[in-house]
């Protein structure tokens, strides 16, 4: 029986959905999470409004968390990491290391990696936006915290801002820093935040400086058009290159590329639309389990159009942002697919006895 159990590594949105899905299909699930609480980065970073139903991440993830915690087939190991791993499809063995150092040996037939992402650190040397220098230069993540508290202010003064801008593609699509990929969610998240700022501080002008706005489906239909038509967010095509301080305000320098026009605009708050990088857990787990990773450390899923969750090792699947930047919908959908494929692989090996 133990060989038909599924080990899920990571308890964020993808890991929670994968665990719930595999358990609902009747498999025993071992869910390992390094943090003290299930929910992953959206939960710990306190995203204010989640896509689709626009509810706070912590509220949405509480539902997923309870579904797993109350499921009779799921065993949850918090503050635990996988410290060694061996075996093959149907007979994997893993050592789980708890925070107090206790080691537990478990066996499982299949594995789902859902170890997620980190936010790009805009203080990395090649970025010149002064994130660690200017208090009023913040990231999408910092903005989420203020928006969740329904109090969007200039960090340096505590006053409501008069002008705010977002700078897109910070840490993404940039060969100089080595992240040539698109982080997929920042356009939508920035636009959503821009609308939220307009609602909270109605006399604040909000600009988004972009290279391309990359949104479709929900993000375009319900976030982008609303921001443009209803909330009058200013979308400007051209990226900001420099931020300097003038008096007690920030000044951004960029170019409106549609008009060849240099811009120098005072801003009270500048929000850097930071992208996604693989989490340390994704890099380490991918290596330990021996699955193919790209040069950044993201786990590379199968290139088959009919299988979006298989890794290079039979019996090991990947879901969510561990496989590259993704929005919540895609993470959860991928998790469902991973659960189904993992359980199916085990059932195929041992024909169901009637």
């Amino acid at each position: 029986m133990s060989d038909e159990s599924v080990l899920v590594i990571g308890g964020g949105p993808a890991g929670l959905e994968a665990a719930r899905g595999a358990a609902d299909l009747g498999s025993e699930v071992i869910l390992v999470e390094q943090r003290a609480r299930l929910g992953g980065t959206p939960d710990s970073a306190g995203y204010s409004a989640f896509a689709l139903d626009h509810r706070p991440a912590q509220e949405v993830l509480e539902i997923a968390r309870q579904a797993v915690l109350t499921h009779p087939l799921v065993r949850v190991h918090l503050e635990t990491e996988v410290s060694s791993f061996a075996g093959e499809l149907g007979s994997f063995r893993a050592t789980l290391k708890a925070a107090d150092g206790t080691l537990t040996e478990v066996s499982c037939g299949a594995v789902i990696i859902a170890t997620g992402f980190d936010h790009f650190d805009p203080g990395r040397e090649t970025q010149s936006y002064g994130y660690y220098e200017f208090e009023d230069v913040i990231t999408l993540v910092d903005a989420e915290r203020m928006l969740q508290a329904k109090n969007f202010v200039r960090p340096s003064t505590g006053e409501p801002p008069k002008q705010v801008c977002f700078i897109q593609c910070v840490g993404s699509r940039d060969r100089r820093i080595g992240n040539e990929y698109c982080s997929k969610v920042c356009c939508g998240v920035a636009t959503k935040e821009a609308s939220e700022i307009r609602e909270l501080v109605p006399d604040c002008r909000v600009f988004i400086f972009y290279i391309d706005m990359r949104m479709y489906g929900f993000w375009e239909d319900r976030i982008y058009w609303k921001a443009q038509e209803q909330d009058h967010v200013n979308f400007v095509r051209g990226i900001v290159t420099e931020i300097t301080r003038r008096g007690d305000r920030l000044v951004i320098k960029g170019e409106d590329t549609t008009m060849n026009r240099p811009m120098e605009i005072p801003m009270d708050v500048v929000v850097l639309s930071v992208g996604m990088v693989p989490s340390e857990g994704t890099k380490a787990v991918g290596k330990m389990l021996g699955v193919a990773q790209d040069k950044h450390g993201f786990i590379v899923p199968s290139e088959s159009a009919l299988d979006t969750v298989a890794t290079s090792v039979p019996g090991i699947y990947v879901a969510g942002a561990a496989a590259g930047p993704k929005d919540l919908d895609d993470c959860v959908s991928m998790a469902g697919s991973a659960a189904m494929k993992a359980v199916a692989a085990l059932r195929r090996r041992s024909p169901v006895s009637v």
């Binding site: 990226i239 409106d256 060849n260």
Partner: protein, 401 residues
């Protein structure tokens, strides 16, 4: 090409032009995604012409006529600040250079550039001076300056003086100061004298690769006849060519800019206190940004008692251009027609507002450019422009007295 930046329709791309540009510059310009990062750090950003973002779009389209007729193509100094920040790693200066080369294949350069090219071909220097007078500066140095041809032996340092230090009055001041510094060091050195020819890297960047290759062949043949440990030059453009281009043409040397050579030996110079002044340093694009040397010139300035080194906002990798690179030293009339302010004037204002009393330089083009700019901006008497050799020479004199 109108300055409005609108491309007239219909668009008729010349795909063959894209291929020819790619052969010369590589295809990195095809990676540009028009983000506009470059046009903000371009020293001509104030002009609002989209340089060099617009030129990369014209190159991608293959809009040959628009690109080649764009004034932007000919005001660019190839300073390279655009390439420093480009998230797509486009070789922007290389693409501009290649487009200029294609222009020159079928059209005449402007009068100013044509004169500089012709002088370089005919006299071995862009100033149009007699090749036989190339070593005349030696006479006023006050110390012996050995000439390779007369020595008949190997030397430690072969000093490649280049044109502006050989001929330009303010360049000669610096060359003679350098000779006195070398004498104070007791250096085993010599110059090529009249055997030297312009390295012509700036002519290459202005699109004339033929002149550059011909000059390189002549200089390499000359250098091959002599034995020396290192090749030292005061010209960052020559340094760039010796370091990055000569090896592929058969000339591999241990090459240093004079600031690097002197910085390694600064402890051996006895420097006395000079009149106390605040000095700011202008990083030459082809020493700093293009070749990564930011420290050596600063070490020299900081070693001089009495001088206080202060930095301008644009410095080191984000240094501002003097306006003379990429052949623009000879194209100032054209640039003046198309641009509202000279870069040297913008830079002089920055030095003044930083509180500097001396603008220290270490590129032969810069002394005269900045001295003119001090006058034209009305700051005469407020800002001295000095080559670092002149400041060192002053300190040697102070120690001797």
């Amino acid at each position: 090409m109108s300055q409005s930046g609108l491309i007239p329709l219909p668009v008729r791309p010349d795909l063959g032009f894209i291929d020819r540009l790619t052969e010369l510059a590589g295809d990195s310009f095809t990676q540009c995604y028009q983000c506009g990062t470059c046009s903000v750090v371009c020293p001509f950003a104030f002009q609002g012409t989209g340089l060099p973002r617009r030129e990369m779009a014209l190159a991608q389209w293959g809009l040959k006529d628009e690109l080649l007729a764009s004034p932007n193509l000919w005001v660019c100094t190839t300073c390279g600040n655009c390439a420093r920040v480009c998230p797509r790693e486009v070789d922007i200066p290389g693409t501009i250079r290649a487009a200029r080369e294609l222009y020159l294949l079928e059209r005449d350069p402007g009068r100013e550039l044509a004169t500089a090219f012709e002088n370089t071909s005919r006299h071995g220097n862009p100033l149009g001076q007699s090749a036989r007078k190339r070593a005349d500066w030696i006479a006023g140095a006050g110390v012996e300056v050995p000439i390779m041809a007369g020595l008949g032996r190997a030397v430690e340092v072969l000093f490649f003086t280049e044109c502006y230090w050989s001929y330009h009055p303010r360049g000669i001041d610096a060359a003679q100061a350098m000779a006195r510094i070398m004498a104070a060091l007791g250096a085993d050195w010599a110059v090529l004298g009249i055997e030297e020819r312009c390295v012509a890297d700036s002519q290459r960047l202005a699109g004339e690769s033929g002149i550059f290759e011909e000059a390189a062949a002549a200089n390499i043949a000359t250098l091959d006849r002599y034995q020396f440990t290192r090749l030292v030059t005061p010209d960052p453009h020559a340094y760039n060519a010796f370091r990055n281009l000569y090896p592929a043409l058969g000339g591999s040397y241990q090459v240093q800019h004079y600031t690097q050579f002197l910085a390694e030996r600064i402890d051996r110079l006895s420097l006395g206190p000079v009149a106390s002044r605040r000095v700011t340093f202008h990083d030459p694009c082809y020493l700093g940004r293009h070749n990564g040397e930011f420290e050596a010139p600063r070490r020299l300035i900081e070693a001089i008692p009495g001088l206080e080194l202060i930095e301008m906002g644009h410095c080191r990798a984000n240094g501002y251009c003097c306006g003379g690179g990429g052949g623009e030293i000879w194209n100032s009339g054209y640039t003046r027609e198309h641009v509202d302010e000279r870069l040297s004037e913008v830079r002089v204002r920055e030095a003044i507002s930083a509180g500097a009393e001396v603008l220290a330089v270490c590129c032969p083009f810069e002394v005269s450019l900045f001295e003119d700019a001090v006058k034209s901006t009305g700051h005469q008497g407020e800002l001295e422009v000095r080559d670092i050799t002149e400041l060192l020479d002053e300190a040697l004199g102070a120690a001797a007295n």
